[in-house]
Amino acid sequence: MPHRVLHFTATALLLMATWLIWSGHYVFLINTYGVLSVIAVVALGVRLGVVDEEGQPFRLLPRMLLYLPWITWEIVKANWDVAKAIVSPGMPIHQRLVRVKASQKTDLGQVLYANSITITPGTVSLDVRDNTILVHALTQGSYEGLLTGEMDKKVAWLEGEG
């Protein structure tokens, strides 16, 4: 029980920080509205069942900061590949449909992996089930990059001891 209360508080603090960054008007009235809004949102969120460890995975934050630059660079590289495929006259695409292993332990980890696959153009996740992900790959390069399992390992590391 205290664990949940702690989580609610952390979520409220995160939302309050978001409010303060967004708002830009630091007067008493608006800040009061902010506190009331955060309380209302957390209350409704708890009622809807969206405020829990899966919805706000705070423990991933430190590793996320290291993961984000890596995935951004992957996205840039993948974009370059797909852009080349689009503009070359012969359209050198080689579609594959392949089921790969998702070695993450939790649903959250597998979702992060599936989304990482989708957000890098050239690969898109079609289906997530039974610790595997069905992936559609556009080019030979994206297919081979997927099979190295590097991203799978990175996301498993990001997820940590889950």
Partner: protein
Amino acid sequence: MALALDILSWIFLLSGATFAIIAGIGVLRFPDVYTRSHAAGLGDTLATLLVILGLLLQSPDWMVAVKLIMVLAFVWFTSPISGHALVKAAYAHGVKIDCEEEDAVSH
């Protein structure tokens, strides 16, 4: 200094614009919905990133910068979700894929 920033901003905006048009061409040119979704991802990710970066360098104050980053974060967060939902729905609906399914789990 200001000139260097302007030039950098120019480069970002122009390359972002180029990638957006390439994405548009891809959406038009690719043969089926699965391949087109890759092209759509191009417009959602790199084109958005570059355009937003170009605007960031021109933002008059930090409020505007924060909001630009929020727009980028939101688009990057939701783009894979709608992309996944789209191809999943198309696949479940029986839209044909031009290849066989293979299994890479065992090795």
